[in-house]
């Protein structure tokens, strides 16, 4: 791990000497921090725990920190022309342009997403299934991100338990299918309604809370729902989960082999990939619906009330906005989309268990929303592709194994890199990747507000 940030922005005359000193401090800190974790390792051995030493790894890590800090010092922190300046200005220009071109970039991405399955089957017939699967996954997170964006990005309510509604949606569909034999399309609206209902139930008592307190209570609610799902064995089957969840049908046609199936009806040859392409279009449709509803809602009075609430709650109240109802609608609508995504997740997997709905899932969705830029729809798309796609790319980096030896498993480092990326992107751009926030309600002409000029509405 690299050590701290520069002490201040001052550029030293004695740049190299200062840099060396600073890098030495960083390496010393790394040596202190790493000693018990890199140099020593406890392992279970016969007759209790055993301590092994790994000096080589330890000194290598310290050396890497020294070198890395030195390079950073020379190129970034202690020079008059840091390389990051150019990258930063280019990227912020990119972000601003994306914000300005939001419409066009969105349209291009939309067309690309529509054509994606054909594109994949044309160019990558071999790995088609794998890529479609990845596209479905990313699209699911885009939808979840858009759903959470209503709560966090528009209404400014920090929700750390969003996964609860995802779980409610998934379990609603799974249980409805199990006990009442409902199909996906019938259960989908019900799952959404149930999730919205839970959104209101959980939202109602916490409305008076704000900021961090709200975050921690929603986290608690998310965990409560998970623990109940885990322990209510007779109803939810506990940790064993629910399997055999039905697949979605196409207007009553099964996407399977045989009589009366999709392939049979249309007279085409059956291929298992059809089901995946169909799933992809379902989640794509759901995500687009989420997006369109959000965009429409922003123009309605309730959407404007959300944004006003985000900017200043006290001003809202004094203007006569019913903050309770406004917050509840945000919670309910966000939860509903979470529920839709949940039932899609259930039908896609065919099996669900409480393990899929842990806190880390909530954190991932929140990270997507915040890193993308609060309230920015296109930002959610970019952040999902970067974070989720990035994780999957890491899983497939076989060439790293050739460099670091056969025992090297990149997937072990996925979450570590994920966490580091969260910290670094946030420190680098606290307002998210697409950081321009325009008021959607304007009197005469649109004025651009630099995102960092706007204080996050916490009532002060």
């Amino acid at each position: 791990m690299a050590a701290g940030m520069p002490a201040n922005g001052r550029v030293d005359r004695n740049a190299i000497g200062e840099s060396l000193k600073d890098a030495a401090v960083a390496a010393g800190l790394a040596a202190i921090l790493g000693f018990f974790f890199l140099a020593l390792r406890t392992d279970i051995a016969t007759g209790g725990l055993e301590l092994t030493t790994r000096w080589q790894l330890y000194f290598l890590a310290v050396a890497i920190v020294f070198a890395g800090r030195m390079v950073l010092n020379v190129l970034v922190f202690r020079t008059e022309r840091p390389v990051t300046k150019t990258i930063l200005s280019a990227s912020s220009a990119f972000g601003a342009r994306l914000g300005a071109l939001g419409g066009w970039a969105g349209r291009i991405l939309f067309v690309f997403a529509v054509l994606l399955p054909f594109f994949l089957s044309y160019f990558f017939p071999q790995q088609q299934r794998q890529y479609i699967d990845l596209a479905i996954l990313i699209m699911t997170y885009i939808m979840l991100g858009w759903g959470l964006n209503i709560v966090v990005g528009l209404a400014g309510l920090l929700d750390l338990g969003y996964v609860a509604f995802y779980a409610v949606g998934a379990y609603s569909f799974a249980l409805l299918a199990q006990f009442f034999h409902l199909g996906f399309w019938t259960a989908l609206p019900l799952a959404g309604i149930l999730a919205a209902f839970w959104g209101v139930i959980l939202g109602f008592p916490v409305l008076r809370l704000r900021g961090d307190y709200l975050a921690i209570v929603t986290l608690a609610f998310g965990e409560i729902i998970r623990i109940v799902l885990l322990n209510w064995y007779t109803f939810t089957n506990g940790p064993d989960g629910i399997s055999g969840i039905p697949k979605p049908t196409f207007f009553g046609l099964q996407l399977a082999r045989g009589e009366g199936s999709f392939a049979d009806f249309f007279g085409i040859e059956y291929a298992p990939i059809h089901r995946f392409i169909y799933l992809y279009y379902i989640i794509f449709l759901l995500a687009i619906v989420t997006n369109l509803v959000t965009i429409r809602l922003r123009r309605l009075p309730v959407g404007r009330a959300w944004e006003a609430l985000r900017e200043d709650e006290i001003a809202c109240r004094s203007l006569g906005i019913n903050t309770r109802n406004t917050k509840l609608t945000a919670f309910a609508i966000g939860a509903m989309f979470g529920g839709f995504a949940g039932s899609f997740f259930a039908t896609r997997q065919g099996f669900i268990s409480p393990e899929s709905f842990t806190f880390i899932e909530s954190a991932t969705i929140l990270a997507i929303v915040v890193l993308g830029g609060l309230g920015s729809q296109i930002g959610v798309v970019i952040a999902s592709v970067v974070l989720i796609g990035g994780l999957e790319v890491l899983r497939n980096l076989d060439f790293l194994r050739e460099i670091f030896g056969a025992g090297f498993d990149p997937t072990r480092y996925r979450m570590l890199i994920f966490g580091l990326a969260m910290v670094l992107i946030m420190v680098w751009k606290p307002r998210g990747l697409v950081a321009s926030r325009e008021p959607t309600a304007v009197l005469k002409e649109k004025k651009k507000i630099g995102a960092d000029m706007v204080a996050q509405g916490e009532g002060h």
Partner: protein
């Protein structure tokens, strides 16, 4: 009755551990108004450092157990403090003055980083440590239809409670009597004003993190001794419960954190003893929600005044 008293003793022990962690939350919240989400994982890091130190000392041939315990506590406090300092420096200081969600996100990121760093470097399997301190004193004995029940206060529980008391006393003195404590309280009241009268705010905040981490390290070592098993994931649950304790006692208040910790420990133990073990976490989480909704300033906290 005997059963109840035994549970009381167990609850006090567990509560002391939660209280020690809760102080870190409450101080950080008091001074910069953020939830240090990674604090639970600092506690976990402390437990791992304590375990490694303990094993190293045993391997080196130290025979006297009290000496070993003392050295482990000191080493764990020092090294864990370094972790606390680094987390603040890397993830929170650059975001000071940024909007309120930003440090919370980096805190979650740091929590993920710490968990996975420990998992990768130390392995995902649990680390069992056989009980080191055995024996105890029998407080009372009673008989029921199922046989006799013995209320026992083990030496380990005594050590945990005594250490907590000593640390708490020392810490309260540190906050109320030293110039560092004065600076800390000044920053808590008004950081800008404190800076104007010459308090080094950044340094004070760093030291707050260092102190919180040191106490969490002791809590980690106690946890290791009490349960005899740790893994990289213990920080999350313990962290949320300790935060609940801080909120229950009134965030920003040191005696409140200790009181809240003991209450949470008691509630958890009583719940497991009289109701179901499976839902003990639900009990803790529900209390968090209930307290925040009906008693947002906690038992000993000051009511928050909303400024326009």
């Amino acid at each position: 009755m005997e059963y109840f008293i035994q549970q009381l003793v167990n609850g006090l022990t567990l509560g002391s551990i939660y209280g020690l962690i809760a102080i870190g939350y409450t101080m950080v919240y008091g001074i910069i108004g953020m939830i240090n989400f990674a604090h639970g994982d600092i506690f976990m890091v402390g437990a791992f450092i304590a375990l490694a130190t303990f094993l190293a000392l045993v391997t080196l041939g130290f025979a006297s157990l009290p000496l070993i315990l003392l050295i482990v506590i000191i080493v764990a406090m020092m090294f864990t403090s370094a972790w606390g300092w680094t987390v603040e420096r890397l993830a929170y200081r650059p975001l000071r003055g940024s909007f309120r969600l930003a440090p919370l996100i980096t805190a979650i990121g740091m929590s993920i980083v710490l968990q996975n760093f420990v998992q990768i470097t130390q392995g995902a399997r649990v680390k069992p440590l056989p009980p080191q301190i055995q024996g105890g004193v029998t407080l009372m004995q009673g008989s029921t239809e199922n046989g006799t029940i013995v209320v026992q206060l083990s030496y380990m529980q005594m050590i945990i409670i005594a250490t907590t008391l000593v640390l708490m006393t020392g810490f309260s003195l540190l906050i109320s009597r030293t110039s560092l404590g004065r600076a800390q309280r000044a920053c808590e009241q008004d950081a800008k004003m404190a800076a104007l009268v010459g308090v080094n705010v950044d340094r004070t905040i760093s030291l707050t993190f260092v102190m919180g981490a040191a106490l969490a390290a002791v809590a980690g070592f106690m946890f290791l001794l009490l349960y005899g098993v740790i893994d990289f994931y213990i920080g999350f649950l313990a962290g949320v419960k300790a935060f609940t304790a801080a909120v229950l006692g009134g965030i920003g208040s040191l005696p409140g954190a200790m009181l809240g910790g003991i209450l949470i420990g008691l509630i958890e133990v009583m719940w497991s003893g009289y109701f179901t073990v499976e839902y003990k976490d639900v009990a803790a989480f529900s209390i968090l929600a209930i307290v925040l909704i009906f008693l947002p300033s906690g038992l000993l906290g000051r009511p928050e005044v909303e400024k326009v």
